[in-house]
Assembly symmetry: D3
Homo-oligomer: 229 residues x 6
């Protein structure tokens, strides 16, 4: 029995249905997170490196070690059109694991973006390239290429479990992971949620109160809310 | 005697003079903070959710619980034209308590902005709506509606005491609270301070040193400053 | 023997060669940091106060105390054309040590920017002036003028040792310090590094993998990397 | 009208009833916090500087500035038997504002402990003296005596509003503020709460489940909880 | 298909072999973490609430919501002798989810300890009871019982994936998760590692250098290490 | 010219006078920090790994990389009786760089303690060995041996510049660096300071106020302090 899942590259992964990923790409992270029952959200310290960054694709996962980006080069070869690379780190590290050269390479392989629980650099160029990156830090500090991690194993990235092939969606509000097997159903639920919000928005804009629209007054009174003058 | 100030909505509050609030809106937070003797500043972790956000209005206060935004719906009904909602939380929480639907509702009631010691979501839409929000975090994570807090009680928000009706001013530099009773006097003092800075800025731009303009040389020498070559 | 290096202003400092500083200004921080052997980087919590801020110049150093900006006024007199002020603090403090008046004065003396291990305010005006500032915080909180620090002594700023006259370069990726004595050599090395990257970028953009371009496959196999299907 | 509440020492304050303070001293912070409706808790970053520290007394409040402990000397004169000094700071600072000499002086004036939203030093001696201190940091860094704050004004300390004379209780679980006017009532409520917990503890220790003792099963089922095998 | 894994209690879980768990209990967390290939470690912000706390057992997992401990009561019923409760939270929260009453109840059900990515209170009593708790915070702030989470689903706790029935080991160095299926093999590997360290410790204590014992000199020279006088 | 100071081991360093180091060992960090003019203090996040840890010795410096402890093995050979190892890291990392085996080795070489701007593990054993360690974190996570750093070069450790041979003193209050050349003079100043405090402590204990003993009343009045009843 092998105790160690380091030093492994899984070449064959089952990606979520491409059409489901495309449909999910049209929604916001908050909507998708609600639609799948409020699970799968990465921690909010992951932020876009430029305003307006946004991406959605199927996950190629990477496990890095602090200060070492060797596995990102290994991961590049596993990228297929429509993938997003999701890089976890075996412990907290804000070094610049990724910059414009890797972004150029990833894009050439069909990659739509990077989610990394670590730092990145060359953010001006990344912004000019419009290559979406969500990271925990920005740092000019480079990394070495010395320690084996793995590619396409299950990882925990910024607090969320990610399996290779899952759909990953990122925008201004954060990053959410949709398991491959439920991507289509989540897209359906997100659409339903969005449809229902249109009417609500109109009613609220017209001055109706949420207290009335959501029929909260009775529950509030029952809970003991008191109005004083 | 009632030990508990939870579960209370105060409907009648004394708002600061509207004209004083309008006058304060023309100044920067740093100027107003100086003008009132360097008190009333919220902690600097509150940041605008989009570049250029800015607001000034009279406070409707809310006390929330972590992961629960029920009271924001209750607060909506208490908003009057020119108000800013100030939401404190009973313990630190970065969840997304507020999003585009609540922003739509708050605006329809006359609200000019939100200051929240918590997280918000839908920031792209908030930015498109130009609805100013200052928060401690951005997070797609939604909240429940289960626990009573209060509306229009005195709260401590991001380290500053806020009473309902106080003027709250927020810009790129932070958020400052001006007690309702001194809003006019603070506006006067802010104007005086701003007037005095115009001439100073011209002199400094012309190359005069602050050492001379503020007559600091004697005090520095007395304190023991030594110049070496 | 004097145990105390507080209360000192060194008027004569040896600045790095101006031409070397000009050459360094053309490179990114990440490139220069690599070119000098990955040393001299400040900690990544220093961030530009507006998007696109960037500066490069010779250091006038300042040691401040928490909540006290007196020495920034003393430093203004020591600025020469092409300088960047580097302000350290004797303990962590995010107060607004610097604002638009000091920026006006610094610019009038020839200053190209400020690196401060503390907070600043008036960031809207700083942005309109296009005066580059890299700070650990933004805060409207003002400071007093009461305690002696020093000007043009060696300081540790955000984790990096800075001697007066060193070249300091700051951009979106961070802040790096180049010792005055090696500024020209580092510029040469940065140029060589940048030249070598052009060809690499083209090859990566054409789809060549880093695994092949950097000849990593043998080392990875030797380290034990296993490919699974 | 005076805009500025800095530079003020209030000599006459109304302290909470001494007997109520004595009674509160027998309870834990968690119990008292519950008893008063879950308000008045300081943020949990305040920690005792030695294991087992604990204090309860009437508040003498101080507003300090970062890096400046002058007002602690002013406060010493206002201490009466049974007081606890509560020191807030106008912005976040972890410097060592307080050490063994001030502890000696405070104790000589009758002080029972210190709550400080800042740092302290000489913690070995404080521990040997058994002088209870709850602080946000431990730091050997000293402070200056240059800027006026105030004594016995209302302050916000670690997120809680404190008025001079309030009862402040601190133990391993945190620090809670009991307004002077309700100290006796809160002590009554704390006693009632503690009495009710004895029986509960016995039942739980005997193996009864909280699900049954608190009759939660129906509410859980109604909320939709599903048991799977 | 069910999108939502909230509101579920799994009653039947496959616990790791009890003998394997007992064997693992004899090792330190660092040893076990090494023995299983440096995976499975929780983030180091989890700390014991009293000095010397230590526990090892099979995991009953809980997913909580911020400020809500309802599911801990539900979990109590699922505890069997030798279990450790592992509580994750859907977003970061330091409230006091757990105190002496729950500890009494958990112990009565056979629980050996608690790992919680949240806060706890009553730490003096927990210490007196010698009930081991590892938490991210200590806080007197209580929680409500309003929102459904789940029990015995896979969770991410402090950055580590935990499945119900896994072995969880916690000591001064941190918390590590050993998947149920490899618990015995990891215990073997930990024993082998510990055996090999005895001889090394003796040689190092006798003055032999690691450089020689681990034969590092050649690799260091090859990497380019230069000795200067 | 060599741009790179990595990969260097300096074998010959000038250690501070041993008698001066012995004398400094008798004082507290706060006293020494004051005695040398309030410079040289490391940041307060460095904490002892067990209560009562304390050390004083001459510095052997090490520059590590994140997740890599190779250079600690190299450093072991450079230790002489009375040294303290000071380990900086090229970027922030809390991994466990150091544990009981290295402690055994260091002690065998004559080392009196470790100051590390990183994490350590095996803290129970370190405590039992009474080997003093001051670190930024405790973590069971191990490190690799792959990247060259340097030994006995000047480093910035936790914000303080340290040259090999400097005296480093650490206790409950923090860590302070005394340059080798002034160690004796600082010991003299520390003694003088300690002598002067004895009398002050007695006067304060007898009830004399600092306001009077330090003659602060006039300065306070001049600054504008107002006493109100």
């Amino acid at each position: 029995m092998d105790l160690n899942n380091l030093g492994i590259v899984k070449r064959t992964i089952v990606r979520a249905d491409a059409e489901a990923a495309r449909r999910l790409a049209r929604f916001g992270v908050a909507t998708v997170h609600e639609a799948m029952g409020r699970v799968g959200l990465m921690q909010p310290y992951l932020r876009p490196v430029y305003a307006g960054a946004r991406c959605c694709g199927t996950a190629v996962t990477v496990l890095l070690h602090p200060g070492d980006n060797w596995m990102l080069h290994v991961a590049a070869e596993q990228i297929r059109d429509g993938d997003v690379v999701v890089a976890a780190c075996s412990s907290e590290c804000g070094d610049g694991f990724f910059g414009d050269l890797l972004a150029t390479s990833f894009r050439a392989q069909g990659c739509l973006g990077l989610i990394i629980d670590g730092g990145v650099r060359d953010v001006r160029t990344l912004s000019e390239m419009a290559f979406p990156v969500f990271s925990r830090a920005i740092s000019a500090k480079g990394t070495v290429k010395a320690a084996l991690g793995s590619v396409n194993i299950p990882v925990v990235c910024a607090g969320a479990q990610v399996n290779p092939g899952d759909v990953v969606l990122a925008d201004e509000d954060g990053v959410v992971v949709v398991p491959a097997g439920i991507a289509g159903a989540v897209a359906d639920a997100a659409q339903a949620r969005e449809d229902s919000e249109v009417a609500k928005r109109d009613r609220l804009a017209a001055g109706e109160l949420g207290l009335d629209m959501y029929r909260m007054r009775e529950a509030l009174a029952k809970a003991g809310l008191k109005y004083l003058d």
